[in-house]
């Protein structure tokens, strides 16, 4: 038996139990991603179709590697939160919703882990 009033339940944190954290993280990562991805597009435009040695040489530049790593980290947070919102909107069955939210977290972290290791390997080992 829950003795709290409906007002007390939602006060402060709202129905999602996390206040504005979700919203805030989506916005801060989107601010970060705007210049990062514009750089990324520019980089790809310059290096698309170039030979292996050129591309890896450019990717191992410390500045490019840093941009790359930051882009991966911000993207993973942003994509996970974005897909979480979509799942919460469209999946109404509680257990399916939980399952998809967990799968979403795993998929995002897997992609992030793979990209980050690849970026770091190129940066440190070529």
């Amino acid at each position: 038996m829950d003795m709290r009033t409906p007002l007390a339940k939602v006060r402060g944190l709202g129905s999602a139990k996390s206040g504005t954290e979700h919203f805030w993280k989506v916005r801060t990562t989107s601010i970060a991603l705007t210049p990062l991805l514009l750089f990324y597009v520019g980089f790809l435009v310059m290096y698309v179709g170039r030979p292996y040695a050129d591309v890896v040489g450019a990717l191992s530049n410390p500045f490019v590697a840093t941009i790359n790593a930051l882009t991966v980290i911000a993207s993973v947070i942003h994509m996970r939160l974005g897909m979480e919102e979509v799942i919460q909107d469209y999946v109404h069955n509680e257990s399916m919703k939980l399952l998809f939210i967990v799968l979403n977290a795993f998929f995002s972290l897997l992609i992030g882990g793979l990209c980050l290791i690849a970026v770091l390997k190129i940066a440190f080992a070529g």
Binding site: S30, L33, L37, V41, V45, V48, G49, Y52, S75, L114
Partner: protein, 130 residues
């Protein structure tokens, strides 16, 4: 006490509303976001290939360079630019600006035109550089 869960007012859903540009671009923002989400597999494949030697890199580059690969990458470029521009519109609204009907409708249309225009521009530069 009244049953708060069951007596909540229901909001009308998609089919009730007239299809308008801002609505279309809101839907496109979601769809492009989801496309970017799954498209990260392509980014991961490219980075991993670059990290694991010349042979793998050339193989993945060959796939991306094929006609189907190029069409997918063109679509991915558009999804990215469209979602990025849509994000800027959202940022403007979050800051409390640009809610006027004519202005937001104009921006919604501009979002689509600009994303297609920029995508074509990026690819023209790519084809010229290559």
């Amino acid at each position: 006490m009244a049953n708060v869960t069951k007596n909540r007012p229901l909001s009308p859903h998609l089919q009730i509303y007239k299809f308008i540009p801002t609505m279309a671009m809101s839907i496109m923002h979601r769809i492009t976001g989801a496309a970017l989400y799954f498209g990260t597999v392509l980014v991961a494949a490219w980075l991993i290939a670059a990290a694991s030697g010349e042979e793998n890199f050339n193989e993945v580059n060959g796939l991306f360079g094929s006609l189907v690969g190029q069409i997918i990458l063109f679509g991915y470029t558009w999804a990215l630019l469209h979602h990025l521009l849509g994000g800027l519109r959202h940022m403007m609204w979050d800051l409390g600006y640009g809610f006027e009907k004519e202005f937001s409708t104009m921006l919604a249309k501009a979002n689509l035109v600009a994303s297609i225009g920029l995508t074509v521009l990026v690819w023209i530069v790519v084809l010229l550089v290559r």
